[in-house]
């Protein structure tokens, strides 16, 4: 019984994670912002990385 509860919890977390991820991918792909487009985190998708700040002094 306790194992079943743990599994329900894990699967729920996974479903929420996937849902949020798909929603974010959908929003990013349909938005017109500068970083729009690639949001799939694929290994072949080099343009997906967000710009990082770096101080140059």
């Amino acid at each position: 019984m306790s194992q079943t509860l743990i599994i329900i919890l894990i699967v729920t977390v996974c479903v929420i994670f996937i849902g949020l991820r798909l929603y974010r991918q959908y929003k990013q792909a349909t938005s017109q912002t500068p970083s729009s487009g690639c949001s799939c985190s694929c290994s072949g998708c080099g343009n997906s990385c967000p710009s990082d700040d770096k101080d140059q002094s």
Partner: protein, 736 residues
Amino acid sequence: MEKILLALAGNPNAGKTTLFNHLTGARQHVGNYPGITVDYKEGSLTLGNQRFTLTDLPGTYSLTAYSEEEVVARDYLVNQRPRVVINIVDASNLERNLYLTCQFLELGVPLVIALNMIDVAKDRGIEIQAEKLAELLGVPVVPIIARNGQGTDKLMAAALTVAQEDKSWCPRDISYGEDLDETILTLLALINERNFLTHSYPARFTAIKYLEHDDLILAKGQVESKSTALEIETLVTAVSEHLLKTTEVYPESIIADHRYGFIKSILRQGVVSQRFNHDRLYTTDRIDKILTNRFLGPVAMILILFGLYQFTFTWSEIPVAWMESIFVWLGDLIRNSMTEGPLRSMFISGIIDGVGGVLGFVPLIMFMFFGISFLEDSGYLARVAFMMDRIFRIFGLHGSSVMPFIISGGIAGGCAVPGVMATRTLRSPKERMATLLTVPFMNCGAKVPVLALLIGAFFGEHKAIYMMLFTLLAWLVALIAAKILRSTVLRGAPTPFVMELPPYRFPTLRGLGIHTWERTWQYIKKAGTVILAFSIVLWAMMTYPGLPENQQAAFDAQRQAILSNTAVEIPDPTIPPNQLRQPAMNQQEQLAAIDILESETTLRYSMAGRIGSALEPVSKLAGFEWRTNIALMGGFAAKEVIISTLGTAYSMGEIDAEDSQPLGERLLKSPHWNRVVAISAMLFIMFYAPCFVTVVCIAKEAGSWKWAAFSIAFNTLFAYILALTVFQVGTFFGLG
């Protein structure tokens, strides 16, 4: 303190993104081929106490609306009004690069010129006097090498000085000959008098764009004031007709000629000196004589492609085997340390057999990306595009379509999402749409491990050859599909194409290392997050609901019956020992058969099993059993999920779950898989519906969800017919 907005602009492949990455610390993708940046990207940096926002604009040859990049770049400059535009100029191609500089000067933007690749220019014997060029153009010119950051401090200091001056836009006048200059003056008077588009562009810039027949400016003019627009258009038509009569040349050509004349007049004033003979063949030209030769080029391309796959499979074989052993060991460790139950099943069948199957290919992915990064950084991929242009035209596609194909995984290991976005470089909407719908046929980085798994399991003796054949097949099928589209729903005339070939560069080990690691890390990260989550959810869908008690009881009863039947026979003392073993063996076989039947029935009874089984009557014709159907459906979320789902399904199904094995071996032993099924499955996976994110991107880029739906339906139907044909023909000839 206020953030200063800077923009990086220049010709394609001039090094904008390299400089952007160097200045901001970002890791935007950089390739030695034109057209990497099709949208603009922003980053930040601090110089002293001053903070900057830096925008990397797409590469353009002009500011006339010939293509999407040119529109993006010009709109950004006009709407965002950056304080300084850093114009990256390729020092080894100065004359051509300054053509865009002329237009920046005409627009009047505050400009700083970054004379990039000064080292390449020196190697070619070109000496450039930067101070002289700055004096003649009236803007700061700073020599830099963006690859190693040399000169970037001086560049940023110059940009800061110009930014602090905060001057208003100051357009430069270039003479375009008597006829056009007179017309421009007339247009200027009209534009200034009516304040026509002056809130967006300098009056002279608008006048020149009307003479160049810039479609977007013409459309904006119509919106601003129809009557003024008509007056201007009438004047422009009159001068165009006059020029055609007298010189047989359109105003656009005269404007281009005079801009080049302006550039030449500057360069000849001691700005550029050539140390070598102009006819000398550079190393790049020498290499290109072979690699882009009409006959030798394609042979070299096939050999290089084969070499890439041979390198990938040969070098990764041992590390892949190590990874598989690690996951088998992990599975055994959990099996021995956890009590039997659903949690243990989730760890072994869901996580280890699922995610482990994907992670097992990390070494292969790493070696493949290393090889691809080498080809990309060296400039060879641009040659592939150049050679493929001839073939593409036969199939109704544009030469600019080649790069989106390569980015999507034309050599293997790309991604369809940036590939779809890269179609923005195409000017013809129909050619663009045909490219958009066919780029997902390429073997992206997510399909590669699936192909590697099946090729490794069923065609292990010739892995590199099969991988190469499947890559070539992806191109062939994509081109045939494009031809079908261009001959039916997307019929239209082809447009001309000019391709710039960048010089060959020997990739740096550091650059190769960074590119390889970035892509490999993305793969690992995706496996550890999204794929892990999908594996767990799909495991749950393959586990629940469990078998009803009456069905379980029926299986238990069958077991009891077998045990009780043999229990009567075994104690019989009259049976000799060698004959005693046979009933015992029979008993074990019967019990194993019951176990297999029970696990298969349980899996079929589960949520995912029911969906897979419902599709089986159709999929069976192409050779796919219900477990494969579950994996293929998961592949719509991300293609890597196919491996993890197969891993889980075959771990829980008829093969003994207690026996840890790599997925390839499980498939090889399965009665539902053989060589024909493997080929049929690979073809289906290569060509069926693109993943979710690609579909959304297609909808966005095509401007309609109808095309996205068409892409799903067309690709899936196409893939199914192909897989069905291969399976039926292969089975008929007994090739399985």
